[in-house]
């Protein structure tokens, strides 16, 4: 049994190594969802269909951005011409994919909640983003 306990503690340590940033991300995500819920005023029936699709939409956008961000890690000065070309193509593809995902999922969401609430949703997303930006730079100082 001690062996199992030791394995467990080892796994807990390994598993929690990048926990802080992830916790912060989860917190922001939960606050965002809460903010949108309050601002868009979805009915129970709308909520039932809306959130599974909205979560899927959000996951895809985040995945595209993360994928692109990771590809840029190497830094332009360390890239060969061929790599630069590939990265440029990836950038264009990612932007196109984002637009497509926005279009595809916003169309689906509009069917569920209607155009008026879609406007509310976009405003809520934008407002929340502004709040986040302000919290990153509370005094409004630019670089």
């Amino acid at each position: 049994m001690r062996f199992i306990l030791h394995i467990f503690i080892f796994l807990a340590l390994v598993n929690s190594s990048s926990a802080f940033a992830q916790n912060q991300k989860d917190k922001v995500e939960a606050l965002r969802v809460d903010y949108i819920t309050k601002r868009v005023e979805l009915s129970s029936a709308e909520s039932e269909k809306f959130w599974p699709i909205y979560n899927e939409y959000n996951d895809k956008i985040k995945a595209i951005r993360k994928n692109l961000r990771q590809s840029y890690r190497k830094g332009p000065e360390n890239l060969s011409d061929q790599e630069s070309e590939q990265l440029y193509i990836l950038f264009v593809q990612s932007k196109q994919a984002e637009v497509d995902v926005h279009k595809q999922y916003n169309d689906k969401l509009k069917v569920i909640i209607g155009a008026r609430k879609m406007v509310k949703l976009h405003l809520a997303e934008e407002e929340f983003r502004m709040k986040v930006m302000r919290s990153l730079n509370p005094k409004g100082e630019g670089e």
Binding site: A12, N15, V28, E29, V33, K49, R65, D100, V101, L136
Partner: protein, 390 residues
């Protein structure tokens, strides 16, 4: 010549058609062409380690010969549980609802050491691996089916025989609204210290991510109170128990040539539990309270052959109520798809949790932090903002 007049308009239509088709094709493939690996499942792989202790107390009736030999009874139990998603399939229906099917592999290992003052040490183990099927209709209902074959054995004495059993549950859960849910089903369980076929009746008042009262017969009644996004307090009453194989090395059963008999126990624990969500992937809990109806029974297998319900025991007694202590660690692995405010997935997680031996799973349901947005760093919001936002 008339036909030639239509050629320009035909060309316009054809061009339009191909643009539409190519846009459609491109729009379908733009995301896929990036070949991004996304999480497949809604459930984390979860493992938990649970330690449960009950101090020993004397038997109420000491006139019985076996009671005289046993003298006192207490429990030391260590259990290990895991579940891992094997398969997840989403399907979008005509009206836009997303239905999903989940298959999970489950497993548990229990090492139970009943503490009898008058006997040598017995380490009773239970080991099982099973499958769990969860179907979310996407509207109001979630179906849940669990099959858990397991084996029990007294490993302290190699001469004792193993015994194979099957526990199973089928439940339909219906979300009338965010704040009210009912469940109906059937379960074959050994939790009450016997092989029982019981109805499964459940009720929940209040949202799963807020304060809620949950009644899950025959398992538990609990009042759950989230305290911020990191701590959940539960006041609960829960039945606990099981049926194990017990070596007859101490000759408790009068037929000395019988090497193994069945030891069964159950108790009702009422107390408080704190669940701490330390990080996204690591939680722990502590619980304590009063353990009542501490009953044990010994059944001979021969006397109960081919019976659905074991009804011939050669010993059954209880000890006075005592305190119990419970401590557990829960680890989650892997990334999941988002399911914020997806009440059916919350319900599926709760059903999955209700059927876990130590209720180790509801920490997957996100709670809203009380704190406002402050002290963020760029790393924490990089998925949310695009660099165009700066």
């Amino acid at each position: 010549m008339k036909g030639l007049k239509n050629i320009p308009s035909l060309l316009v239509w054809c061009t339009g058609f191909f643009i539409l088709v190519s846009t459609k094709v491109f729009s379908q493939n733009a995301f896929d062409s990036l070949k991004i690996k996304s999480p497949k499942h809604y459930f984390n792989t979860l493992i938990s380690l649970d330690s449960y202790r009950k101090p020993d107390r004397p038997f109420k009736d000491t006139s019985d010969l076996i009671s005289k030999r046993l003298k006192r009874y207490g429990i030391k139990q260590l259990s290990f549980y895991f579940h891992a998603p094997l398969y997840t399939k989403d399907k979008t229906s005509g009206d836009g609802t997303i239905q999903n099917t989940h298959i999970l592999l489950t497993g548990n290992f229990v090492s139970l050491r009943p503490v009898f003052d008058g006997l040598r040490d017995h380490n009773l183990i239970k080991f099982g691996v099973g499958l769990r099927y969860i179907y979310n209709t996407g509207k109001k209902g979630v179906w849940f089916v669990d099959m858990s074959p397991f084996v029990t054995r007294d490993i302290t004495y190699p001469s004792s025989k193993p015994y194979y059993r099957l526990a199973s549950t089928i439940v339909y859960s219906h979300n009338v609204s965010d704040k009210f849910n009912w469940r109906l089903g059937a379960t074959k369980s050994f939790m009450w210290g016997n092989r029982l076929y019981l109805p499964f009746l459940g009720l929940r008042i209040g949202r799963l991510d807020k304060v809620n009262l949950s009644v899950q017969f025959p398992r538990s009644i609990s009042l759950n109170v989230p305290m911020g996004s990191k701590v959940i307090f539960s006041f609960y009453s829960r039945s606990q128990g099981g049926m194990y194989n017990f070596s007859n090395a101490d000759s408790l059963y009068y037929k000395k040539n019988v090497q193994t008999f069945h030891f069964s126990r159950y108790e009702i624990n009422t107390g408080g539990r704190f669940d701490f969500r330390v990080t996204r992937n690591f939680n722990f809990y502590v619980a304590t309270g009063l353990s009542t109806r501490n009953t044990i029974s010994f059944y001979s297998d021969n006397a109960n052959k081919k019976r659905v319900f074991y009804n011939k025991y050669f010993y059954s007694k209880s000890v006075a109520p005592t305190l119990f202590f419970n401590f557990g660690l829960v680890l989650k692995f892997g990334k999941t798809r988002s399911y914020y405010n997806n009440k059916n997935i919350y319900d599926a997680i709760d059903l999955n949790n209700t059927s876990s031996p130590n209720n180790a799973g509801n920490a997957q349901i996100p709670l809203t932090p009380k704190k406002k947005i402050s002290d963020l760093n760029l790393k924490s919001v990089e998925d949310l903002v695009d660099y165009n936002d700066f």
